[in-house]
Symmetry: C2
Subunit: 461 residues, 2 copies
């Protein structure tokens, strides 16, 4: 069959308009489409959650916001595992948050039947994260719009927008108006219903009466042909896993998930004989108080410009960190390097030290504080749970720290500002601090239990 | 007559193409065009400066770069005062700097006949300042491309580009491919030749043999009708002058050029009785060593989000500064505020203090060093000459310091980084430093002679 995708957005500095650009995608063996909506009734659907009403009008399903009710959902009676889903969405009467649940569930055993699971986000707010993937009532943001900022312009308020979701095996992908938005790899839930969300508006009366319309809802469940891989970033939540899309983008594992290969102790040639352990796909630094300790780990390899991703799980009160461009010094002095700080901000005393918060989780330790208040974003640090870090060192020496999908620190190695910060820091006497051309990456043993997994790196040019 | 302008550039994240967009500009009373080139000979032109050859080929004038010769010029034998000039330019064989002189001169009394004056810059380097106005062999950059970054995409290497210059009275304006690039107000030279530049390539042999073609050169000198005013920034070099374009953009004078109106002494209600003087349109802080001194000046008015421009002239070894969001304290403690540092970096001892250069000219004093090395840009600080400063405080609290047309400091008031910088600065004990909602602007009397003029402000929303 032949599938034609429409709508590409072009932008100039003075003019912004939309141009229909046919992107021809020919899939010779794709399976048949099944309609999820007969255009006249809500047969095959059921209401869950809050009291927002759903109706049929002019061949579309219409949901309307009401005050003082929780998130409402119109869910399919059937469940779907692997599928390709498409529909169109139009918002009328002003912006309001919405979304489309998929592989989602409502279980008596989970928060009294609260709808939870993957959500294709519809977000007409200024941040414009439509097409991002949110884990409703469960883990929060899996793929915030920050990961693919080029997609922020795709969704248009007040117009019909074309939406596509591909959920095939562990690969979850979304499109808005023919352009790719999100790519998550996750295996937590393999099957569930599809549901149209009308988000709670609480007591914001100006948001009452806004309408969300869905039409042309259809699904394929057999003979699925995934779309070709796009160049957008992949967020892989499967532990120590490297997807084909990540491999194609140049990523490789920096830890094999089971042994000490690629790593060694600081000032040592081999992996420490004690302190660090491997179990269940986790690289664990010895519990707080345990002795003897393993000391810091460094990569066998050195890196210049690179992108590094890691999952980490902090225990209560823990201090640790990822150092990069590391210089090894005599054992009594410790290894020196730029540090992505890992800390339980609430319980560790170091949080209040330094200056202006420059020792909080995600900060460039003792130099640049984490720039973003994360609590409002549904991405707050979670002690005891897996969190995600990313360090990007560009070839032009710009550096970024990302925490749970948000860019929290930006600076340029060697810039006047960088040098002035170092000159008034713990590192003021360390000539050339952080300016090495290359260096290993270090996992810190600060005496506390911390867990790592999914350590991945790719060189940048 | 009807003049049709062509070529507008549209850009998307994935596709970039050029689209012919007719912009219809109807000028009913414009004067007649006179051709400056007959298509066959160089009649009416003369060679000046270096040895690069000029020839006629296929209806265009062709200049070719050669090694080891100064900048070369093909100049009109006639001179022009007020005019509208148009031509087309094509570069072949790779990028090389070029330009079109206007109101320019070659005088035995000025550097042995060296060609000098206004130049419409042709700059295919990555910074892409084509259409900027450079004062050749005289004051350097008057309108660098930094002032209008939206124009950086207009000029296309390897294609014919349409160029327009309007020099009418003190107003000098440029266009590339139908879009406005520069707007300078300056009265230094009112008449001179037009000349086509082939820039020196020195010993860069890979740049030898590159060709610049000009065609369809034409000029209007009577019944001139200026183009409607555009929204691009104006750089007004006329002392204490406010042009119609600046007024339209919301600018007003913060000093009237002759009295103490709008200003007062810190902790005083009136203008200081001594120390500060007005003469020749300059506001002068008393000579170094003179006593008694006037102390700091502040505006009568307070400002929140604003854009402030100022010309300043430092004497050798001088220290001064512009403070904003100023808080007045008892006379023994001095006024407190964020400071755009003014300093003779070469001669004043404060240049080496602070940390990492955060007390150099243009820096946010003791907090953020000037981020840019200015010497390579033709915009180096010039002690004893007029320089230009600009402070932009956006409504979202982002702040910029500009020095001689270049953005040298950027920060956000109240950000975690800002607070961490303050916490390790001279201001560490000043609770809430720099965070006032509004405050006056201050001219510092640091005991040295410094001159100000052209103080202009506009509120930002």
């Amino acid at each position: 069959m032949i599938l034609i995708r429409l709508a590409a957005s072009f932008r100039s500095r003075t003019v912004r308009f939309c141009l229909a650009t046919p992107l021809l995608i020919v899939s010779l063996h794709a399976g048949p489409w099944e309609s999820l909506f007969d255009g006249k009734t809500l047969d095959g659907w059921k209401a869950l959650g809050g009291q927002a009403p759903y109706a049929v009008e002019d061949g579309s399903i219409v949901g309307t916001t009401v005050a003082d009710t929780p998130n409402a959902f119109l869910a399919t009676q059937r469940t779907y595992g692997d599928f390709i889903f498409e529909c169109e969405v139009l918002q009328e009467g002003g912006p309001t948050n919405s979304g489309i649940q998929f592989r989602s569930q409502s279980l008596p055993t989970y928060q009294n039947g609260r709808v939870h699971g993957y959500q294709f986000e519809i977000d007409p707010s200024p941040r414009a994260w439509t097409g991002g993937i949110y884990d409703e009532a469960r883990r929060g943001w899996l793929y915030p719009g920050t990961l693919n900022p080029a997609a922020a312009d795709l969704y248009q308020l007040g117009r019909w927008n074309h939406i596509r979701i591909e959920a095939i095996g562990s690969s979850l992908r979304t499109w808005v108006n023919g352009r790719p938005v999100s790519h998550v790899i996750d295996g937590l839930t393999r099957e569930g219903f599809i549901a149209l969300q009308v988000h709670s508006v609480g007591k914001q009366l100006e948001q009452v009466g806004r309408r969300i319309r869905w039409r042309n809802l259809r699904i394929q469940t057999s003979e699925l042909v995934p779309s070709p891989l796009d160049a957008i970033p992949v967020r892989n939540l499967q532990p120590n896993d490297l997807s084909a899309a990540e491999r194609a983008a140049g990523w490789r594992m920096l830890w094999d998930g089971a042994t000490g290969a690629r790593w060694r102790g600081v000032n040592q040639t081999g992996f420490p004989a004690q302190g660090w352990t491997f179990a269940n796909g986790e690289l664990r630094c010895a519990p707080t108080g345990a002795k003897p300790r393993g000391g810091d780990l460094v990569t066998q390899e050195s890196f210049g410009a690179f992108e590094f991703q890691f999952d980490f799980r902090l225990t209560a009160g823990a201090n640790s960190g990822i150092k990069y461009f590391v210089t090894e010094r005599p054992p009594t002095e410790g290894a020196l390097g730029l540090e992505f700080q890992l800390l339980d901000d609430e319980r560790h005393a170091d949080a209040a030290k330094g200056a202006g918060g420059n020792r909080l989780l995600g900060s460039l330790y003792d130099l640049i504080p984490r720039a973003v208040a994360l609590n409002g974003l549904g991405i707050a640090p979670r002690i005891g749970e897996w969190q995600h870090g990313r360090i990007v060192v560009h070839p032009d020496h710009r550096v970024e720290h990302w925490l749970n999908g948000i860019n929290v620190v930006e600076y340029t190695r060697g810039s006047p500002l960088f040098k002035s910060l170092v000159a008034r820091s713990k590192f003021e006497k360390n000539e050339g601090f952080g300016l090495a051309e290359k260096g290993p990456i270090l996992l810190q043993d600060h005496g506390d239990e911390v867990h790592f997994r999914s350590l991945k790196i790719r060189p940048l040019r």
